[in-house]
């Protein structure tokens, strides 16, 4: 399997393991080195603080010409993440560039947890809640963090 893995993926994987960023871990699956199990710790000061969120990340054959596919597995109350865990993030779509990396993608997602953007929503009901009653939305987000993301 590893024989045909592009050198770039091997290099990125090595760096992810040897120089992990704080609050982020990404480990390739044993049977598919293009599939990563990802954990992101809820950033301090955000309603997700204290939680650990599981994600899956998959590198398609087109990678790095096409962005990685990333999805939250842990449920999360966030205006830019929907019920299926899909993430609304420009660099995962039209703003993708092959010079970006797994690492930069995960850092952006971590940033999205720190700074939810209800004006560019994926989960409309959550975004409405966030815009009309931010304090209430944050309380719900904290409750969900406690319920789904505690280890």
């Amino acid at each position: 399997m590893a024989a045909n893995l592009p050198r770039r993926i091997i290099k990125e994987t090595q760096r992810l393991v040897s120089e992990p960023d704080p609050g982020i871990s990404a480990t390739p699956s044993d049977d598919n080195l293009r599939y990563f199990n990802v954990m992101i710790a809820g950033p301090t000061g955000s309603p997700f603080e204290g939680g650990v969120f599981k994600l899956e990340l998959f590198l398609t054959e087109e990678y790095p010409m096409a962005p990685p596919k990333v999805r939250f597995l842990t449920r999360i109350y966030h205006p830019n993440i929907d019920r299926l865990g899909r993430i609304c993030l420009d660099i995962l779509k039209e703003k993708w560039s092959p010079a970006l990396q797994i690492r930069t993608v995960l850092l952006s997602i971590q940033g999205l947890l720190s700074a939810p953007n209800p004006d560019d929503p994926l989960a409309n009901d959550v975004a409405d809640h966030w815009k009309k009653d931010e304090a209430g939305a944050i309380t719900t987000a904290k409750a969900w963090t406690n319920k789904f993301a505690m280890v």
Binding site: M1, N4, P6, K11, E12, E62, S97, P98, A99
Partner: protein
């Protein structure tokens, strides 16, 4: 461990001629104790100062051999006094004079050390330029040596291990891989010199950081016990006095080595393509100045990804063609990375063979089996 003890313990491992230059931590600590007594005598209460009940500013003046500190206490509104009350305390001036004197000495020592090291490095650099030139067989060994030096990140301040431990790791790697034995006679001298300089630099950095820490600690103690909050004023004062003390000894050291030693032998990473992260062969320079390999450019054009992957400059990729090959970099790469280029060429031809095979047969060549597309 108490800092005073830590200071002495660290000093033991450093050259003895530096000892007299060290911040006199113990002596300064005594002066703080005396100062607190003197404050009582002049009617200044550390408690009230700490609680912020008294508003004041501090003025430092450099008068030849001495630093004079003046505490200027703002007029108390309720008492209706309209001018600042000025206070000079003998022990406070003695404290800052002693500290400043040591810092000046350190600054001169640092200047001399840097000058000596720079001169040595200049000579080493010239010799290395010849010994590690692409015309010599040692180039690849030197590249491996410097690659491991980077990996050791001896002068990386953010790492939790100290420079000495990381240098030990590097030396261990050198022994294990027998790099010194593999080098030619001329190169071996240079190698020994390089290790010696690294060892010296590690000591220099350790000494500088030790003094920085001592200064931080003693000023913190001063602030805490006197409540005068003089440390911020003193920092500004020494900044004005333009001492040549490096604020960041690690970075200074690593730049010295990078500039005159490791950069002599280019690493493939310095010429890597940001898309495939492999050596950028053949090197294409986009109009926005970013460098890519030709295969990645072709792939991007095939998929109509027209903007520069790094800076998103519009149509950078679209406009690029054979004329964008950077001949200068190409020559340099041929000279310095013959093995890497050959490897990349073989991989590329395999890739093309697979693509042709798939196009001809309609079968996708997978990793270990063929699957129908």
């Amino acid at each position: 461990m108490k800092f005073g003890k830590e200071l002495n313990a660290t000093l033991c491992s450093l050259p003895s001629e530096w000892h007299s230059y060290t911040i006199q931590y113990k002596q300064l600590k005594k002066l703080i104790t005396q100062l607190v007594l003197e404050m009582r005598d002049v009617g200044l209460s550390p408690e009230e100062l700490r609680e912020g009940k008294i508003s004041k500013r501090i003025v430092f003046e450099n008068q030849g051999q001495n630093v004079i500190s003046t505490v200027c206490i703002a007029p108390n509104e309720s008492e209706g006094v309209d001018s600042e009350k000025l206070l000079q305390m003998r022990t406070d001036s003695a404290f800052f004079s002693a500290l400043f004197d040591t810092l000046s000495g350190l600054s001169n020592l640092e200047k001399d050390n840097r000058k000596a090291l720079t001169d040595t490095l200049e000579v080493l650099s010239d010799r290395l330029l010849k010994a590690a030139s692409p015309r010599e067989k040692d180039m690849y060994i030197w590249r491996n040596i410097f690659g491991l030096y980077h990996e050791a990140s001896v002068f990386n301040i953010t790492s939790d291990k100290n420079s000495r431990d990381r240098l030990d790791w590097f030396n261990g790697q050198m022994r294990e891989r027998k790099f010194r034995d593999k080098l030619h006679h001329n190169s071996r001298d240079i190698f020994d010199e390089f290790i010696l300089i690294l060892t010296q630099l590690v000591s220099v950095v350790q000494f500088q950081r030790l003094n920085q820490k001592a200064m931080r600690k003693i000023l913190k103690k001063h602030d805490k016990r006197t409540g005068l909050g003089e440390s911020t004023y003193f920092s500004k004062f020494i900044a004005r006095e333009e001492l040549s003390l490096s604020a960041d000894p690690c970075t200074t050291a690593s730049q010295m080595i990078a500039l005159r030693v490791t950069r002599v032998v280019p690493q493939p990473e310095d010429y890597s393509c940001p898309v495939c992260m492999d050596i950028a062969w053949k090197p294409i320079r986009l109009s926005c100045s970013h460098l890519f390999c030709l295969p990645c450019l072709i792939k991007a054009q095939d998929q109509e990804k027209w903007d520069c992957p790094v800076c998103r400059c519009a149509d950078s990729v679209k406009k690029a063609n054979g004329g964008n090959i950077d001949r200068g970099v190409q020559k340099l790469m041929q000279l310095y990375f013959p093995k890497e280029i050959q490897k990349k060429a073989i991989e590329r031809s395999k890739e093309l063979a697979i693509r042709d095979y798939e196009a001809l047969t309609g079968y996708a060549v997978s990793n270990d089996k063929c699957v129908l597309m």
